[in-house]
Amino acid sequence: MALDPQSQIPVVKRRPQDPKWVRVFLTISALFVVLLIIGIPVLHVFFRAFENGVGSYLKSLFGNANTRHSILLTLSIAPRAVLLNLIFGLAAAWLIARFRFPGRTILLTCIDLPLAVSPVVAGLVFVLMFGMQGWFGAWLADHNLQVLFGTPALVLATSFVTLPYIVREIIPVLEAYGEEEELAAVSLGANGWQMFWRITLPNIRWALLYGIILCNARAMGEYGAVYVVSGRVSGMNDTMPLRVEKLFQEYDMPGAFALASVLTFVALITLVLKTYLEKNLMPKHGTESAGQK
């Protein structure tokens, strides 16, 4: 349909008013920085890992007993840390989102502490607590319990560092949904357990999964805190990141890069899942907004 040109309302867009060279310059610099400090290193890891072919790659990964052990150790520590954080995260998020109590802000701040404090300091705290000169060290030794340099310390240090991830994802979602659906469930005769499994959990399931994935990625990659509490004995308490560093120090480049590529691959999968899950996080519009009283 032919329109009178004067009757057409010009479409005003804000963005194109910036000079073209500004836009081109900003785009190119952003892409350049991303490529330089993220893209090239990541590609380089895979390039070096597969430099000598797939056979050599698999051999450096699984042929070395210590490397194999580090993979299994990480695979056993990360899920335990995630589980601990899942239980703590649900409880803390519930408490913070549903109740107003003295000390609530302090609790919230404490949960964020691991994000601010250096992981090495976190590790040192556990050494201070469980080491022979530490508070519980003597008692633990008397009872023949090995915490420091053992799996318990690795799990604790990893949990400490990854503490905020699950809580932080659930709180905003719980708050956005509000408590009306939960109250409705109770008024309909549901007990606390039924309410949690049938109303609360389905509502926060995507946020929970999102938190678990981030938490797991962080747990697998943790280096600083684990470095301090682990004895760094190959084949005993070396986790994957520690093992990568050790292989690197031993000039076993194919081995170091092969193992590094596994960690990088985990990170890439995490990113894909994260992007996919982000769409489902918050309550959809269409149902009523959460009624806050």
Binding site: L183, A184, V186, S187, G189, A190, E288
Partner: protein, 351 residues
């Protein structure tokens, strides 16, 4: 089942939401808790439901003390203002929730849900999700869900507040009919006096955590206990006057602007818009001169705005259309107004 509320108080910090409330609700009645926001009506409803704890006092269901029982064990149906439907569940699962948590067998749930969907006339929507329903449909699902386990009491928090005017009107008629069918003791909260009068058997007017008046709608409307209730139940004109031979007589316009309950004295006289007459002739005793400034002839009732010629005071008069035609008044004309009925309230109500 009857409900007794005995001496119930509730504070939120320094704010006193309920102040020693006593209320008896007979079995099978439909009661409206009416009041402005902050009057404590929703808090009272939630205390009756067990969703909130009273600081003191007791709630009795048919002589059984339930004050310390949780909402789960009280077997009440509660309809939330924003419905609070479970958004991840279908209509069927929503309505069935109260039954399945009580461990009803599958076939019985199927049968009961079918029965309820028939009752609310929403058969065929079993597999929809709340997001796919209109506001009115959601409201009815919320009601069906609350009724599923045959509660002894049905409590509704501003049940029609979130709906548009037309649907609201339909649903409240429907709620009244439904109540006549199933006769469950029901209490609903509203700030809309028209809604309360249209639906309820008994109206309880609340303000500032206290009951101002309760009774059947006609009684409350005809004999408001005080200036607050009078004003809250509809528009009111305020005049200065005096009580002569036991009857109130208007002597002039009041200088009070806005809500009459803000400033209350014995010589303040309250007249409803339909209790005022417009006269064309010379001033009779008790009549006041007024100038017509606006006429709104929409509908069977004509609303006329008048103004005191010597001040800013305004008065509203409602006439039947026939009376308006008979008078033949027009904007700008000087007339007299004469009350057919007037009220004064005792002075102990001073705030």
């Amino acid at each position: 089942m009857s409900i007794s509320i005995k001496n119930v108080s509730k504070r939120f910090g320094k704010f006193c939401a309920l102040d020693h409330i006593n209320l008896e609700i007979e079995a099978g009645t439909l009661v409206a808790l009416l009041g402005p926001s902050g009057s404590g009506k929703t808090t009272l409803l939630r205390i009756i439901a067990g969703l909130e704890n009273a600081d003191e006092g007791a709630v009795l269901y048919h002589d059984e003390e339930v004050t310390s029982k949780s909402a789960k064990d009280r077997n009440v149906g509660f309809v939330f203002q924003h419905y609070a439907l479970f958004r991840h569940m279908t209509v069927f699962d929503n309505v069935a929730f109260g039954l399945s948590v009580r461990g009803w067998p599958k076939e019985k749930i199927q049968e009961r849900v079918g029965e309820l969907l028939h009752l609310i006339r929403l058969e065929g929507l079993e597999n929809r999700y709340p997001a796919q329903l209109s506001g009115g449909q959601r409201q009815r699902i919320a009601l069906a869900r609350a009724l599923a386990a045959q509660p002894k009491v049905l409590l509704l928090d501003e049940p029609f507040g979130a709906l548009d005017a037309k649907v609201r009107l339909e649903l409240r008629e429907w709620l009244r009919r439904l109540h006549d069918e199933i006769h469950v003791t029901s209490i609903f909260v509203t700030h809309d006096q028209e809604e309360a009068f249209a639906v309820a058997d008994k109206v309880v007017v609340l303000r500032g955590g206290k009951i101002e008046q309760m009774g059947p709608p006609t009684e409350v409307f005809e004999h408001p206990a005080n200036a607050f209730v009078m004003d809250f139940l509809g528009q009111v004109n305020v005049f200065e006057g005096l009580v002569q031979d036991g009857a109130p007589r208007i002597t002039g316009y009041s200088s009070i602007k806005g809500q009459p309950n803000k400033d209350f004295c014995a010589n303040t006289i309250y007249v409803r818009p339909y209790e005022l007459d417009i006269e064309l002739g010379a001033a009779a005793l008790g009549a006041l001169p007024a100038k017509i400034i606006h006429v709104n002839p929409a509908g069977p009732v004509v609303r006329i705005h008048l103004q005191d010629p010597s001040s800013e005071a305004r008065v509203f008069v409602e006439l039947t259309f026939a009376k308006y035609r008979e008078l033949g008044v027009s904007i700008g004309q000087m007339v007299h107004i004469q009350p057919k009925k007037a009220r004064v309230f005792s002075q102990d109500y001073v705030i």
